[in-house]
């Protein structure tokens, strides 16, 4: 390989064949699931997809872009509110409303980024949280979407139940696949490399000709799009929205938990993390307060003893990167 690329001393790792073929197998099984699976599993998949997409976006922002935000719930909630508002007020079918809501959320992210980007590091984290609170309070005072009381999505009343379940499931599946594929391809691209350079040092990256501001803005907007998508999907299946539930900081807390358990700054991190989170949620959430204490305890243990998460642990043990975006230095 090096013979043909003598003038390039950085090469991409080959696209990961094994995980991709496993993914295709998963996809084949998943697409047909409505025809053989139980309704419960479809519902469960839609629910967990929202957490997954949201966590992927947080990982993109923090793990690759170095922007640690605790205010991503702003976009999650906006996505949810857009899909409900379009459904209830304009009669837009939620199936069309979901992607539209994601796009509207991304547009909202443009002016909000002007505020957020004036801050750095820890200030950025707090600033994004403040922005999310401002969005929550603003929505709580818009009476057409129920104000502080919230509202129920009525657009699905009268829609055939099986059709709705299958459609919601396929939309969720499409969103999941698109999220993974786009992030993988993006991070393997030149822009992806630039993004990671910014994370490691903004000054150094900009001295190498990387347009830091534009790059950060692009990632911030893409993350908002993804979070809006997750929120739209979640509330279209949950039906009931209120500002306190939609803009709860818990959403971001769960995303951070998922990414930390899985491994920050690794694509497979949120995948593994979401799976672990789902297992814990599925089997232990009936234990009330103890469940929440356990989640917190686990996060502390992971951050103390396994900083790179389960994905990092697997990598250290096996030496393998399953969804690699690395470029490896090869000498001539």
């Amino acid at each position: 390989m090096t013979v043909h690329t003598q003038h390039i001393n950085m090469t991409r790792t080959p696209l990961p064949i094994l995980p991709i073929s496993l993914g295709v197998l998963f996809l084949g099984t998943a697409i047909t699931m409505p025809f053989w699976g139980q309704a419960y599993w479809l519902h469960e998949f839609v629910n967990i997809s929202c957490f997954f997409i949201f966590a992927m976006m947080w990982n993109l922002l923090a793990g690759y872009g170095g922007m640690v935000s605790v205010g991503q719930q702003a976009f999650f909630g906006l996505g949810g509110y857009f899909v409900l508002a379009m459904g209830n007020l304009a009669g837009v079918s939620p199936f069309i409303g979901i992607p539209l809501a994601a796009i509207l959320t991304a547009i909202m992210a443009l002016p909000l980024s002007k505020l957020a980007f004036r801050l750095n590091g820890g200030y950025f984290a707090i600033g994004t949280w403040v922005i999310a609170e401002v969005v929550r309070l603003t929505v709580a005072n818009i009476s057409i979407v129920g104000g502080g009381s919230g509202t129920s999505l009525t657009a699905f009343r009268g829609v055939d139940r099986v059709f709705r379940q299958h459609m919601t499931y396929w939309i969720a599946l499409t969103c999941v696949v698109a999220t993974v594929a786009l992030i993988l391809l993006f991070l393997r691209s030149k822009q992806g490399l630039a993004l990671q350079a910014i994370r490691d040092s903004e000054v150094a990256a900009s001295s190498q000709g990387v347009d830091v501001i534009r790059m950060k803005l692009a990632v911030y907007v893409v993350a908002a799009l993804g979070c809006g998508l997750a929120g739209a999907l979640y509330f279209a299946s949950n039906l009931r929205i209120s500002p306190d539930a939609a803009f709860s900081v818990n959403w971001t807390a769960f995303a951070i938990f998922i990414v930390m358990i899985g491994g920050v700054g690794r694509i497979e991190g949120p995948i593994i993390g979401t799976f672990v989170f789902w297992l814990i949620n599925h089997y232990l959430s009936d234990y009330g307060t103890w469940y929440l204490i356990g989640l917190g305890g686990l996060a502390i243990v992971m951050s103390l003893y396994m900083k790179d998460g389960l994905a990092g642990f697997i990598h250290r043990k096996t030496g393998k990167d399953f969804l690699s975006i690395k470029r490896i230095y090869r000498s001539k």
Binding site: N88, G148, R161, D286, G288
Partner: protein
């Protein structure tokens, strides 16, 4: 069962003995400890599984609304006693199973566990209770999946209009029984006319499901109060939780407010009431819903709790009987206090009534067919521990009304008791005492 087998030292009291130190952990907790917080299956063996009727029960066991779920363990125990040998329907015994889920006081979580109960556990009937934040998301999911649902303990307007219900048609699958704003407006306004005041009312209506409904200028308190000659000092909807009420208190003082009302959570009211004390604001009547319904919350105010008034949807003095155990309201409360060593609390009656209706419906339906169960709910005519439940004669379809009176925390011996002082909306419930203005020392 009549009377409790335990010694009853509250026999002559109208309300709970709130000053008594309580043991948080009763033996009941021990019995359920291993499984209480989880999905408790109340299952009877020896019955063919396919005949099992499943009831899903959603309640806020954790989070800010947890105080509503306090009687759950006790109610579940009573229901277990009732259904452990199955329920007889048309001469056949059916196994009945109750699956208990925690909403974590979060509407999103409530919707998620409802979908889980419907899709995974295949419940035939869903019941839920405690505020619109629990009832509305649960009912929305049931409506969507076509599963019969009964809820209570949330005024019917936030339940019905909060879910964008159409007063002409109602909902297909979901039913609700409780009082409405018209009852609480009627009862409170009548209560406030009993003693001479400045007729100026200061309001604490937050920006949430309840506050928006109570403060609504068409359907809420303001039009009725103005018509009855009261002056309303409303500073608009505010965000909760809230720490600082000083601007409210100053404005109330400026306007010579004698009556304070609202619907806020116990921690918010604690802030308000403490700050009112510090600023020397001394209203004659304080009727704040939600905050002072619970003996645990009221106990925290010590002496300053005396004279507070609140709406009463159930008390040991209500002249009703359980269709399930035959207990009177007084006997149920005594049984609860003896078993758990805790004071009685209003959700006890409502949780009990919820299961009274659920078991009655399943007995009359005698089938797992959702439409048959739904029609059985519609046809309900049952005298429960909170009063008669009937979905045919409600203010809107799908809603049945139960009676409401007002009570006051008054001194009985050394302790405070919640006694009935107003019954204009439900004359069948006798008044126990006269309303007294709040007394201030110094």
């Amino acid at each position: 069962m009549s009377g409790s087998p335990f010694k009853d030292d509250n026999k002559n009291k109208a309300g709970p003995n709130i000053m008594k130190p309580l043991s948080r952990r009763s033996f009941m907790k021990g019995v359920f400890a291993a499984s209480a917080a989880s999905a408790v299956s109340l299952k009877a063996p020896f019955v063919h599984a396919s005949d099992t009727l499943r009831i899903g029960f959603i309640s806020p066991q954790t989070g800010p609304l947890a105080v509503f779920a306090e009687p759950d363990d006790f109610t579940m125990m009573q229901i277990f006693q009732k259904i452990k040998n199955g329920v007889e329907i048309d001469g056949r015994r059916h196994d009945v199973e109750v699956i208990y889920k925690d909403s974590q006081s979060n509407p999103s979580r409530a919707a998620t566990v409802t979908a889980e109960l419907i899709l995974k556990d295949g419940v035939d009937l869903v019941v839920a209770s405690s505020t619109p934040a629990t009832c509305n998301p649960v009912a929305d999911q049931c409506e969507l999946y076509g599963v019969p649902c009964i809820t209570n303990d949330a005024p019917w307007q936030p339940y019905f209009f909060g879910r964008n219900g159409d007063p002409k048609t109602g909902f297909d699958w979901t039913f609700h029984f409780f009082w409405g704003l018209e009852d609480v407006v009627g009862s409170f306004s009548n209560l406030w006319q009993q003693i001479p005041t400045s007729k100026a009312i200061g309001t604490l209506w937050p920006n949430d499901e309840d506050g928006n409904a109570w403060g609504n200028s068409d359907r809420g308190f303001p039009p009725v109060l103005k018509q009855k000659g009261f002056e309303v000092i409303d500073r608009g909807r505010f965000q909760t939780p809230i720490n600082d009420f000083s601007s409210f208190i100053s404005e109330f003082r400026r306007n010579d407010v004698d009556i304070v009302t609202g619907v806020i959570a116990p921690p918010d009211f604690a802030n308000f009431w403490n700050q009112a004390g510090q600023m020397g604001f001394q209203p004659k009547v304080v009727t704040v819903a939600k905050a002072t319904e619970f003996p645990q919350a009221v106990r925290a105010f010590g002496e300053r709790a005396e004279g507070l008034t609140v709406e009463l949807m159930w008390s040991p003095s209500h002249p009703f009987k359980s269709s399930l155990t035959g207990q009177t309201a007084r006997e149920l409360a005594n049984d609860y206090m003896a078993t758990t060593s805790r004071p009685w609390t209003m959700p006890l009656g409502l949780k009990h009534a919820l299961f009274e209706v659920a078991i009655d419906v399943l007995q009359r339906a005698g089938s797992k067919d959702p439409e048959v169960i739904r029609d059985a709910i519609k046809a309900t005519k049952l005298d429960t521990i909170v009063g008669p439940v009937d979905f045919q004669n409600g203010p809107v379809p799908s809603v049945g009304k139960t009676p409401l009176v007002s009570g006051q925390w008054q001194k009985r011996g050394k302790d405070l008791d919640l006694v009935i002082v107003e019954n204009s909306q439900a004359p069948m419930i006798p008044v126990e005492a006269e309303l007294l203005p709040i007394q201030y020392k110094s």
